[in-house]
C-alpha cells in the first residue's frame, strides 16, 4: 500500500482544504495511507547565510523523502498559492531536496465557485522550478468550489460526481506513482544537478 503525505496548504485554524485531505485520508483508507502534514509553525524564510534549516522543516523533509508521493491541497489567496505554503516550499528546497522526482497531486478548495484554479497553476509552476523538480501528475485538476457547502456532517463529499472524480484521480495518482518509478534514467544526474546548484556562485 502506498504511503502518502497530505500537505495542508494553509495555517488557518478552520480550513476546507484540511477537510478535503481528511476526507481523502478516511475515504481511501483501504487503498493507501495518507498522513496529514501541517505547515504552520515554520519561520519566515530568510535564506540564512549559515544554511541552517529549522528542525521542523528537516523533519518534514525526512517524511516527504520517505513517502511514495505528496498530495497538496492549496487555498487561493490573491490568485495564487498562500504565502505560508510558498514559505514551506522555500524551506523544503533550501539545500535539501525532498521533492526532487517525487510524485505530487494537486487539489484545492475554495469558498467561491472557481475552486483555486489559479493557485493550482501557480503551484505547478513553483513545483517545476529547479530546486523542487517534483513529478506533478499531468492533465489533472481537482477544483472544489463552494467548499463550505461541500461536506456533510460526517465530512464526506455531498456531490457524488465530485466524489467519483476524486476517486478516479486518486486511482490515476497511484498509477502515476508506479509509472514515475520507471522514469528513473535521469534520477542520478538530476540529483547531482540539484545538489550542485548554487545560485550565488553560478
Amino acid at each position: 500500500m502506498h504511503q502518502f503525505i497530505g500537505l495542508v496548504g494553509t495555517n488557518s485554524t478552520n480550513s476546507t482544504n484540511r477537510q478535503l485531505l481528511q476526507y481523502m485520508h478516511n475515504h481511501f483508507a483501504d487503498q493507501a495511507t495518507i498522513e496529514l502534514m501541517e505547515i504552520k509553525d515554520l519561520p519566515m524564510f530568510n535564506k540564512p547565510q549559515d544554511r541552517k534549516i529549522p528542525a521542523k522543516a528537516q523533519a518534514m523533509a525526512d517524511k516527504i523523502a520517505k513517502a511514495d508521493g505528496v498530495i497538496i491541497s492549496t487555498p487561493e489567496y490573491d490568485h495564487s498559492a498562500p504565502a505560508v505554503l510558498m514559505n514551506a516550499l522555500e524551506w523544503l528546497s533550501f539545500h535539501i531536496h525532498p521533492f526532487v522526482d517525487k510524485p505530487v497531486m494537486i487539489i484545492g478548495a475554495s469558498y467561491g465557485s472557481l475552486g483555486t484554479s489559479r493557485a493550482q497553476a501557480h503551484l505547478r509552476q513553483i513545483l517545476d522550478s529547479p530546486e523542487l523538480r517534483a513529478r506533478i501528475m499531468p492533465s489533472s485538476e481537482f477544483l472544489l468550489g463552494h467548499s463550505l457547502q461541500a461536506f456533510d456532517d460526517d465530512g464526506n463529499l455531498k456531490d457524488e460526481q465530485k466524489a467519483a472524480k476524486l476517486s478516479g484521480l486518486f486511482d490515476d495518482f497511484q498509477t502515476f506513482v508506479e509509472i514515475t518509478k520507471k522514469l528513473s534514467n535521469a534520477n542520478a544526474t538530476t540529483y547531482q544537478e540539484v545538489r550542485d546548484l548554487d545560485w550565488a556562485n553560478l
Binding site: 495555517n11 519566515m44 524564510f45 490573491d78 522555500e90 467561491g112 545560485w199
Partner: protein
C-alpha cells in the same frame, strides 16, 4: 512626487534592497522615494488577524500617503518570496491600501533571468480583486547577474542600465499622474468632508469640556490632571519640567501652533500678545475647533490644506502672507505630524519673518538684493513683501485665512472600491 519602495525580502543582505536604494538615491531629483522594510511583518494567517499590528499599519499608512509604489522582487522557486506574498496578503485581507495604487515592478537575480517569472507572477497577484493595484504595463526592468552589477558604493556600473532605469522611472512618474487623476475623478470632493468643527473625537480628545470655552485650557488641565509647573515630562529625547518646556517653546524664533487630527486647535507658544504676533492668537482660542479660528471665506482653503496633509499628498506646504509692510516677509508653514506608525496626528503651523534672516545673510556676505531678469514669478522685488499676490505654494492651494489666492481643487484620495470578501480571505 512621493513614492515608497518595498524590497520583497527579509534577508539580511539583499541585492533587491540595494537596487531600490540605488533608485532612491540616484533618482532623488525625479522623485522622493522612501525604502520600507518588511522584516517585522508576521506570516499571514487568517485565523490570527494582525492587521492592527504596528508593522502592517506602518506599511498601510506609508502606502496610502504615497503617490505610487515600487516593488523589487527576488525570485525563489520561479515565484515571488513568501515574505512578499505574506505582506500582500495582509494588505488585501481587512485593508486594501494598494487599491488603485500605481505600482512599478523591478527585480534582481543572481542568474540571467533577473526575476522574470517572479515579476510576471507578481503582476498577476497585484491585479487580483483584493489587492487591486494598478501595475504599469510593459517596461520590465530585469537585473540579471546582480553580483557583478553594483560597485562598492552600491551604484549600478553599467551606464546603459542606469539610462534604461531612468527612462522607466520617468514613464512611471507619468503613469502615476495619469492613474491618480483617474482615481481622483471618482471622488473629487474628498476634502469637503474635512470637519473643521472638530465634531469627531480622537483618542486624545479631552471629553466633557466645551471646545469653545475661553478657559478651555484650565478646564481641560483640571479634567486630565495635567502636569504643570515643576512636574517632569519624559520626552524623546530628554526630561524637562513643564516650566522648562514652556521657556523652551516660548523662546523659539517663530510662532508655533498645534492642531490635532480632529482639527482642534490645542496649543500655541504664547510668547506675546495677539496684537504683536505675526499671526494673532489669543489665549481664549486654545481648544477651539479650527473653524472658529478662520474667517468663513477661508474655510474651503483650510479644508483643502488640512486634507492634503492628512492624506499625505504633501507633508509640508508653505505660504507667504503679505500685509505687514515692506520690512517683513512672513511665511506660514504647515507641517504634517505623524506618530511612529506613520498615522496622521495633526499639524504644526509655524510662522516666521524671513527678512531678518535674509538681511543678516546679505550684510554678512556683502551683497544686496537685485531683481532676477529670468524670474518666472510675477514678483519683481525679490524677497520684498511689496511683491504681488502670494505664489501658489508648491502647487497646493492657499490655506491661510489671510490670502485670497484662488485655490485649485486638490487631487482627492481614492477610496478603496473593493469588496472586503474578495480579499485574501475568500478561499481557505
Amino acid at each position: 512626487m512621493k513614492l515608497v519602495g518595498i524590497a520583497g525580502t527579509v534577508e539580511d543582505q539583499s541585492y533587491n534592497r540595494t537596487l531600490l536604494k540605488f533608485i532612491a538615491n540616484h533618482c532623488s531629483s525625479m522623485a522622493d522615494i522612501e525604502v520600507l522594510d518588511i522584516q517585522d511583518v508576521p506570516m499571514f494567517n487568517q485565523s490570527d488577524d494582525q492587521t492592527e499590528s504596528e508593522a502592517v499599519q506602518y506599511l498601510k499608512n506609508k502606502i496610502l500617503q504615497a503617490d505610487g509604489v515600487i516593488l523589487a522582487t527576488p525570485e525563489h522557486n520561479h515565484t515571488i518570496t513568501a515574505a512578499l506574498k505574506s505582506v500582500i496578503e495582509w494588505l488585501s485581507f481587512k485593508i486594501h491600501p494598494l487599491s488603485g495604487k500605481p505600482v512599478m515592478i523591478v527585480g534582481a537575480s543572481y542568474y540571467d533571468q533577473g526575476s522574470s517569472r517572479a515579476q510576471l507572477n507578481l503582476r498577476q497577484i497585484l491585479e487580483s480583486p483584493g489587492v487591486d493595484a494598478v501595475v504599469m504595463p510593459g517596461n520590465e526592468f530585469l537585473l540579471g547577474k546582480v553580483k557583478e552589477a553594483f560597485d562598492e558604493q552600491g551604484n549600478l556600473k553599467d551606464q546603459g542600465t542606469v539610462k534604461f532605469l531612468q527612462e522607466t522611472l520617468t514613464k512611471f512618474l507619468k503613469f502615476v499622474k495619469v492613474i491618480n487623476k483617474l482615481n481622483a475623478r471618482n471622488n473629487p470632493d474628498d476634502w469637503e468632508s474635512e470637519d473643521l468643527e472638530a465634531q469627531g473625537e480622537v483618542d486624545t480628545t479631552i471629553k466633557g469640556v466645551d471646545m469653545h470655552a475661553a478657559d478651555w485650557v484650565e478646564q481641560a488641565a483640571a479634567k486630565t490632571n495635567a502636569a504643570e509647573g515643576d512636574d517632569y515630562v519624559k520626552l524623546d529625547r530628554g526630561v524637562l519640567t513643564v516650566n522648562q518646556l514652556n521657556w523652551f517653546l516660548n523662546s523659539m524664533p517663530m510662532e508655533l501652533t498645534y492642531a490635532d487630527e480632529n482639527n482642534q486647535f490645542l496649543y500655541y507658544n504664547h510668547q506675546m500678545d495677539a496684537d504683536q504676533m505675526l499671526a494673532s492668537r489669543t489665549p481664549a482660542q486654545a481648544g477651539n475647533p479650527l473653524a472658529d479660528c478662520h474667517p468663513k471665506r477661508a474655510i474651503d482653503h483650510v479644508k483643502q490644506a488640512v486634507n492634503m496633509l492628512r492624506s499625505g499628498k504633501t507633508d509640508l506646504f508653505k505660504l507667504p502672507v503679505p500685509g505687514m509692510g515692506p520690512d517683513k516677509y512672513i511665511m506660514h508653514y504647515y507641517q504634517a505630524l505623524h506618530n511612529d506608525q506613520g498615522t496622521y496626528k495633526g499639524i504644526n503651523e509655524f510662522v516666521l519673518d524671513l527678512m531678518p534672516i535674509v538681511n543678516y545673510y546679505l550684510k554678512q556676505t556683502g551683497q544686496t538684493l537685485a531683481p532676477d531678469p529670468n524670474a518666472k514669478t510675477d514678483s519683481v522685488s525679490g524677497a520684498s513683501a511689496n511683491a504681488a499676490a502670494p505664489q501658489q505654494p508648491d502647487g497646493v492651494s492657499g490655506a491661510s485665512a489671510d490670502t485670497s489666492a484662488p485655490a485649485p481643487k486638490p487631487a482627492a484620495k481614492p477610496e478603496p472600491a473593493v469588496d472586503s470578501v474578495s480579499g485574501a480571505s475568500s478561499n481557505s
